[in-house]
């Protein structure tokens, strides 16, 4: 095998250690003829008990409340009497224990999937439980994240939310997946945990268990059979200490802000160590809700964030939901192409009162705290939409009103939009997917979704220039801001603030202080002149290394 593999780096940092592949689902052998039904039925029930018990034990050990809830729910399903009865009937019909378990779970999972919605999402849980019970019956290793008792680099086809809920960052050094893209679940999780990660590495599963590998989460390079001198571990969060504020080597200020979903995402020392929030997603409050959260409930949630950051900037994004992020009370109909449908600000075409209530709650929260509150609308497409939003927000006394730039049309008309609003914030994940006509969920198109795509950088440059012309700030709040080199390129393009997940702030802050604003501009020029994303990344990285 070659000694080097290439994927897409999605979470910066390097780490080295033995590779371990994620356990695969067991393969069913040909059916056995059953001599004793009671023996097979007892074996099937024992498998269910074992799986339920193991999950309950893991739940008891889990420190993260979200992980514990997922594991407890799974343990409860494994102990479901319906499944045990269904296994009994399958054995009575002539199946051996492993096939009976497989059949019982698959039937239930298919039923849930047919029901759709919340129940349909539980189907994957059942299939995971099925694979565990069958693996136990066949004496095969448990599928899922391995637990070898020492730190390792996890290699997987792709990671599902349920896998990552139980991922222990003290044991897993880095993530490498075959599928996934820059904004996939794996990438977002890795950045949140501060783990180096490489996705879209096609040959990853060919790496044999135990091979010592080195993962560079910025360049996307994986070195096989790494030697001790190349295995120095640089954990992105552990070794870098950075205290703000964000600025270039020559003192040009670039606020480094956080992307958060609620006050719970803020560190304990937020009041002293956080420059502000560049993206407060407000969907969390609405998710899973059958009715709209009340004015008071919203006011309270927003006030909590604002009070945690006295005097600091907090950019609140109004409700960003649609057919892709469904909310029951919006009662949107199914759309064939949700990413291009009624989402973001567009939901206020039919339900204006939801936005009005939210703006009212935001205004009340702003009065109750002394943070510097900015409010912005997601999925703005035209200057007229921006103007309407600004009118409604200002009518409630909100003074800093902005528009998110995610739609290429809005980026092209950034100057006209800025005639109506006070600032712009570029969501690079969506702007990338719309500019490249590549679905964010599609791992096959990861190269097109690369935030280094020069066409995406062109659109960002357009917005930054419009901001300069109008004398108004233009920030970036997409995942692009979390890549230290790309962050410098963005600053070079004229972006005035960067917002990212908490784990990325230190690395970006340290890198930004290595370069002057002029040097950042040369990095930006090099990236813009490149023919494709890989060349843009390489050109800027080479220049950046020369200067550090």
């Amino acid at each position: 095998m070659v000694d080097r593999l290439q994927g897409l780096g999605v979470s910066a940092g390097t780490a080295a250690g033995p590779a371990l592949r994620m356990g695969r689902p067991p393969q069913l052998p040909p059916p056995r003829s059953v001599t004793s039904s009671p023996t097979e039925q007892a074996a099937a029930r024992e498998a269910l008990d074992h799986v339920g018990h193991e999950l309950a034990e893991r739940a008891a050990r889990a420190t993260d409340p979200a992980a514990r809830a997922i594991l407890e729910a799974q343990a409860l399903i494994a102990k479901d009497p319906l499944l045990a009865e269904s296994c009994d009937s399958a054995v009575a019909a002539g199946l051996d224990a492993a096939h009976a378990v497989h059949c019982a779970f698959t039937q239930q999972a298919d039923g849930l999937r047919a029901a759709g919605g919340y129940l349909g999402e539980r189907a994957a849980d059942l299939e995971d439980l099925r694979d565990r019970a069958v693996a136990w019956l066949l004496g095969e290793p448990m599928p899922g994240i391995p637990d070898p008792g020492h730190p390792f680099v996890l290699i997987a086809d792709d990671l599902a939310p349920a896998d990552t809920a139980t991922l222990d960052p003290a044991r897993v050094l880095a993530l490498v997946t075959v599928r996934g893209g820059p904004t996939s679940h794996t990438a977002i999780l890795a950045r949140a945990l501060g783990l180096p990660a490489v996705v879209a590495c096609r040959e990853a599963l060919a790496i044999e268990d135990g091979t010592l590998i080195r993962v560079d989460g910025e360049t996307g390079t994986i070195t096989l059979n790494a030697t001790p001198d190349t295995t120095a571990i640089t954990h992105p969060t552990a070794t870098v200490t950075f205290t703000g504020p964000g600025r270039t080597a020559d003192g040009h200020r670039v606020p480094l802000l956080l992307n958060i979903g609620s006050a719970d995402d803020l560190p304990a020392d937020a009041a002293t160590n956080v420059e502000g929030v560049g993206l407060l997603r407000t969907e969390l409050l609405f998710l899973g809700r059958h009715d709209e959260p009340s004015l008071d409930e919203q006011r309270e949630a927003y006030t909590r964030v604002l009070r945690a950051l006295p005097g600091r900037r907090v950019v609140l994004r109004t409700l960003d939901a649609g057919a892709d992020k469904p909310l029951p009370f919006l009662s949107l109909t199914d759309e064939p192409n949700p990413a291009l449908g009624i989402r973001g600000l567009r939901t206020s075409r039919t339900r204006p009162e939801i936005l009005d209530t939210q703006l009212e709650a935001v205004a009340l929260a702003a009065q109750a705290a002394d943070a510097d509150l900015w409010v912005m609308a997601p999925m703005v497409s035209t200057a007229q939409e921006a103007a309407d939003f600004a009118t409604r927000a200002r009518a409630r006394g909100l003074s800093k009103v902005g528009a998110m730039i995610e739609v290429p049309a809005a980026a092209l008309r950034a100057g006209q939009i800025l005639e109506h609003v006070d600032f712009l914030s570029i969501g690079t994940n969506d702007l990338g997917q719309y500019a490249m006509a590549a679905d964010r969920q599609c791992g096959e198109l990861a190269d097109l979704l690369d935030p280094w795509q020069p066409a995406l950088l062109d659109l960002i440059a357009l917005c930054a220039r419009a901001g300069k012309g109008a004398g108004k700030p233009v920030g970036v709040c997409g995942e692009a801001a979390a890549d230290p080199t790309l962050a410098c390129v963005l600053v070079g393009l004229g972006i005035s603030s960067l917002s990212m997940s908490r784990a990325s702030v230190s690395r970006v802050g340290v890198r930004l202080r290595q370069h002057t604003l002029d040097y950042c501009s040369s990095l930006a020029d090099a990236a813009l002149a490149a023919p494709d994303a890989a060349a843009a990344r390489a050109a800027a990285s080479t220049l950046a290394t020369r200067n550090s």
Binding site: A73, L76, D80, L82, G111, Y118
Partner: protein, 96 residues
């Protein structure tokens, strides 16, 4: 046949955490309890899959029953489970 009718108070209905708490409580009872909406099909209250399949929303009125089981244990089980359903479990903090 002992029965209790109660309106589900949890904001998310009988899904996710409220459903798990309810099923765990039902499994801890000495008598088997069934759940139904109106005259709909009976679901085993100890089965999370059966309970989820009922798709009980916030504000739905459900009926708890113990079938042939009667006596103090049956009535206590119904009272305990009815009390659980009448509380907004989403608003109560998770233990630990």
């Amino acid at each position: 046949m002992p029965e209790r009718t109660v309106t589900v108070a949890s904001a998310s209905g009988l899904h996710a955490r409220p459903a798990a708490l309810f099923v765990k409580a039902a499994a801890a009872q000495p008598v088997p309890v069934k759940l139904r909406i109106g005259d709909g099909p009976l679901a085993d209250a100890r089965s999370i899959l059966a309970v989820l399949a009922l798709r009980v929303e916030h504000g739905t009125t459900v009926t708890l029953s113990t079938g042939a089981e009667d006596g103090p244990a049956a009535h206590e089980a119904l009272a305990a489970l009815a009390d659980l359903l009448s509380r907004d479990l989403d608003a109560e903090p998770a233990n630990g």
